[in-house]
Symmetry: C2
Subunit: 365 residues, 2 copies
């Protein structure tokens, strides 16, 4: 903060508030009330939260808790923020907040504008990089949660062929899988998509639908399942009875690109380097394009975090970063093949959190 000449950081979103306070509640699904956390340049965080959250916040390490009877559309925490920020920002007159790429403002825009107008002497500046850099390198406690989510989900994927069959719908296969993951110990699967098609699928972010799985189909399931607030994010591909040579070749190519990605992900390497190395394998294997826009990303309290394996992102890998290795390609018009694994950057070789995908496409009959 001193380097950026800011007095404090102002946070409004769930992962950011949770990261610095430990406050973990699914209540953020309700958009009614805003929640705020202030991180002074010295000392502990200060919470400015609705009354309904006080009992929960008292169980965290935060002890300076300010609350108001919310909802109160006329003043949902704004006057409290004005008071506290004017005191916190006396030295430099600058407050940082995440305003850049991948961020959002989780409070009404009108209230934010009112806050700025009430503090004419304070400048609100971007602090995206401070928060992103801190969050990118995980503690061993954070990694342990992701290791569990990855391991449980890997077992679920491995056993999926025991429960799935030709004639079931995408939705049935995915619902059964979701139940199995809960039995295996994940807390839930906020992200779980399924897409299929004869010889390949055309997207990796929709579904599951009521489409019936037929002989020759390729099905992808991609899931962000969580354990104690931390995500895994990876996928597996299956074919039903059999599929085209083209799809099988695409599987091999993307499997190889994943190998290259895992082997190359070491401290000092840049995300853009990882992308180049994987893309070379995909291109040599016949890739027609990639509409995902990148070949992997950060992972943690959110399904995707921070840096991207893409050209232009020259962030350097450091030990403790958790990322996905996610090569994908269009191998025929309207047909995609995407693989994904989750790893921790370690000194030397990366640690694989997921159990590696099968080297040949698993068959469901």
């Amino acid at each position: 903060m001193a380097e950026c000449a800011i007095d404090a950081i102002f946070l409004t979103t769930e992962p950011e508030v949770r990261y610095f306070s430990g406050f973990h509640s699914e209540f953020w699904h309700s958009p009614t009330r805003p929640w705020f956390l202030l991180i002074p340049s010295e000392g502990k965080p200060v919470a400015v939260i609705p009354e309904i959250g006080v009992a929960g916040m008292q169980h965290t390490w935060v002890d300076d808790i300010h609350s108001w009877p919310a909802p109160n559309p006329a003043d949902d925490g704004v006057s409290l923020l004005v008071d506290l920020l004017s005191k916190l920002c006396r030295r430099r007159g600058r407050i940082g907040m995440p305003m850049g790429h991948e961020t959002s403002l989780r409070m009404p825009l009108i209230d934010y504008q009112r806050l700025c107008a009430s503090l004419p002497a304070i400048e609100f500046v971007d602090a995206t990089n401070i928060v992103r850099t801190l969050r990118a390198v995980k503690s061993e406690a954070e990694i342990e949660k992701m290791r569990f989510a990855c391991a449980a989900t890997s077992i679920g994927f491995r056993e999926l062929p025991l429960h799935a069959a030709v004639g079931q719908t995408e939705r049935q296969v995915c619902q059964r899988f979701k139940q199995h993951l809960l039995q295996l110990g994940v807390d839930g699967s906020p992200y779980l998509i399924g897409a299929s098609g004869c010889g390949g699928y055309d997207n990796i972010i929709m579904g599951p639908t009521d489409r019936k799985l037929c002989e020759g189909d390729v099905l992808i399931i991609d899931t962000g399942s969580t354990y104690d607030g931390y995500f895994c994010d990876f996928d597996r591909n299956y074919c039903f009875t059999d599929t085209t040579d083209e799809a099988r070749r695409a599987y091999d190519v993307v499997y190889s690109a994943t190998e290259v990605g895992i082997q190359s992900a070491r401290p000092g390497v840049r995300h853009s380097d990882l992308c180049k190395k994987m893309w070379r394998v995909l291109e040599n294997g016949g890739a027609l394009g990639n509409d995902v826009g990148r070949l992997g990303h950060g992972l943690g309290m959110q399904l995707t975090e921070g840096a991207s394996n893409m050209l232009g992102d020259d962030t350097v890998l450091e030990p403790g970063m958790v990322i996905t290795i996610e090569p994908g390609m269009t191998f025929a018009p309207g047909k995609l093949m995407v693989h994904e694994e989750n790893i921790v950057i370690r000194d030397g070789e990366a640690e694989l959190l997921t159990h590696r995908a099968e080297p040949e496409m698993p068959v469901i009959t």
Copy 2:
């Protein structure tokens, strides 16, 4: 829009984009890419979305789809928006967007500021009420999805005592319940909290924790489970073997307040009236306060939507609105009792979507 003198509405959040386009994807869990929908004052919505979403958007009724290769931190859709908005806003020079209570901005603040600066002739004004009013009254198709989520979850709650027992942890009971709900057909339980304590619980938004349930405990489970993108939101209370007379009395009082709420919820009644009627019952029953801040709210694509059963909210109930009736009170220091049911406002008496709670607190042994 004509009344508000705006040319178009600009949307950035998942429920709003889904409401007007039908685009339904869990991919919004990734904060990396912004998604935009423009609603012109005449004609169909216009989508401005990352390339990864084009195949999915093509399956909706939207046919004017603009995309860019995302992520692109240097220009994540902003220049596309500048082009389209300058064309759409030629007549009145005003664009509406949800900026008020319960809204947020799901794009980087820096990009929003750049967008405004690039369109100096266009004024961005609040359109919260237009969107909220449209969404508050549900179609029968929307109600049908919520009816299913409510019915399945009601069965789950009714059968919960068959699976729970003294000695289990909150987490074990909730995980088992979550699995059962999936078996009963819900798509997931994005919101599922559990809180317990001897003779009462102290919050309704945290947990479940590893606390072991003991004789005399009261446990509340509150869940927002979904079906095809629509939520239920209600809770049930249980006691373990037995509990205090005080807790049982509180259950009776809050049960009666719920009855009054359900009976009173008719077209023409205001949310503030509903609050007053329920609060009278709670106060007469010994309520010491209520830190939830309201006694129910709108329900639909989000866990909580729109108007609140609280003083100051004079929104008038209309047929087709789906709301929760959620009286709650502190009945002893640090001890809460909250009930909740989901209803549709109909001509005459409301339709109950949830299966009414037991008139006496269910006992788990």
